[in-house]
Amino acid sequence: MSPLLQVCDLTTHLFTVEGVVKAVEGLSFDLDADETLALVGESGCGKSMTALSLMGLVPDPPGRIVGGQVLLGDRDLLQLSEHEMQKIRGNEIAMVFQEPMTSLNPVFTVGDQIVESVLTHRQVSRRQARERAVELLDLVRIPDPRGRFDDYPHRLSGGMRQRVMIAMALACDPDVLIADEPTTALDVTIQAQVLDLLGELQGEFGMGVILITHDLGVVAGIADRVVVMYAGRKVEEAPVDDIFASPLHPYTQGLLGSMPRPGLEERLREIPGVIPSLIDMTPGCSFAPRCAKAMARCREEQPDHATIGDARVVACFAAEEEVAGRGLAVDT
């Protein structure tokens, strides 16, 4: 069965006064229906720009998608006109944003904003749309959904607003849900609730979910597969258990090292150095300047994606050597 969403070689650049920022560079991944894929990396690694590229919402100027394909079924979304894309946004692909405090329009009631989503894509009466909105508010576990319907966003807490955002995204039963750091702005206890909710809804709706986060802790409980991004590129991809059990890429290892884990008293290790400027990219691996395992080759040549076993991908010369040493098949 072919995957629900196929991203091939997606490349998005920002044309700024200072130069061309290569925000997303040759990114490829698949998303199956009924699967949660986590897109992980530090801020500024191109995760959010990837999400906006999939939605066709890259701010132009300065941004532009300069290459690649985004296949939803057999349609390449990048070839669609703006008008055709509008029919897909919020309908087949929906998105939940990072900032629930500012992502809802302050002058309309939350109910009206959900109704608007329904009416944009469904030929139903206003009353039916209203019923659907109340149903959705109930579905995202908002108490007294009928009462909350007429509330303005400023009356709701951050967690409640994020639930409203999720309800809005689910309004038209999307095939793909992109959640961009959906819990980053929330309190820790609320974070867990919202993540659980997303997990449950993913099963109920049978959607493919792309969860974007900088926090591997969020990934563990909810994702099926993980794509690690660094400086606009995919550096590693693996099933979630493998990522935690045996991270291959030095960057992934660094991310795990900087993650607090219960029971471990050892001090958190930070990855030394900073993310490179995405403007003046060096010819070699972009992680090389911060990498403890970097070799001479790493500074001259960009490592290709190597497939390891049947489900893992890594782009690192050192990792390839290690894996080969262990006698596993490496296919470049």
């Binding site: 703006e82 509008q86 946004r89 919020g90 500012t102 002058v107």
Partner: protein, 325 residues
Amino acid sequence: MNRTFLAVRRRLLQAVPVVFGIVAIIFLLLNLSPGDLVDVMAAEEQISDPQVLEQIRAEYGLDKPIYVQLANYVWNIVHLDLGYSFRHSQPVWDVIVERLPATLILMSVSMALALFIGGLAGVVASIKVNTLYDNLISVVAIIFFAAPSFWIGLMMMVLFSVKLGLLPVSGMYTIGGDYSLAGEIWDVTRHLVMPSFALGLFYAAIYARVMRASMLEVSGLDFIRTARAKGLGEKRVAFKHILRNALLPVVTLFGLQLGTMLAGSVVIESVFSWPGIGTLVFEAVLTRNFPLVMGVLLFGSILVVIANLAVDLVYMRLDPRIELR
């Protein structure tokens, strides 16, 4: 509706000291004016007998200490007694009320023009930002923002009345014109075109600039991206989600400028001999009819207070975040 009621009550309570302050300032001005009411009266009525004058002074309480006079003045105002205009042989209140409709018509049409033209220009400029349209609108706006309104009025008069003969030069009615209702409305409309544009274009220029800046600012906010992510078209995003939020600063500015606009109508009315409060106060200043001048000042101020209240209510409807403290 409870929220509305509370807001109205709070604003009215706040307005009381303001109105009282205005009354005090006007009273001060009246007392600064050379000669008192009786001198004016004497000049108008040609009374010269000092005994009669003293009698009138006593009758009006003008021989009492100043604070008693202020108290009397306030007492009279509360009873809608703004004094007497000897020139019109009518109470000041009646003279003003008689001239009020003409000014209200001019004001409301000018305001509507300013909001509509300015708002539309600002929206267009923001949607077509940094294009020829945007630049053109900016240049026109900055010119009308700098031009004196009375001069715009005169230049329109030269062009549309004197050269092209399209519109009547001045006044509000054509004497001996069509007296049917439709004919009268058409007649007044024709007379209204130039004065309302002359008064409104300055404010249209301001609103265009504010609206453009406000639209651009709102269009960069997170919830606009949410609206796009829903699959809304650009028109709907602009006219529903951006516009509603971008209107707020324009409405605030509109409320702040009501007084200025009412005052601006003095000049425009006198340019076009529009028979409203503006020409009335201008004539009153020329004839040194101070009770009438101060009456108009007070009446105008209270009009502004009431209009401001209405603007506040509109603002509350537009912005649900305004909660009462």
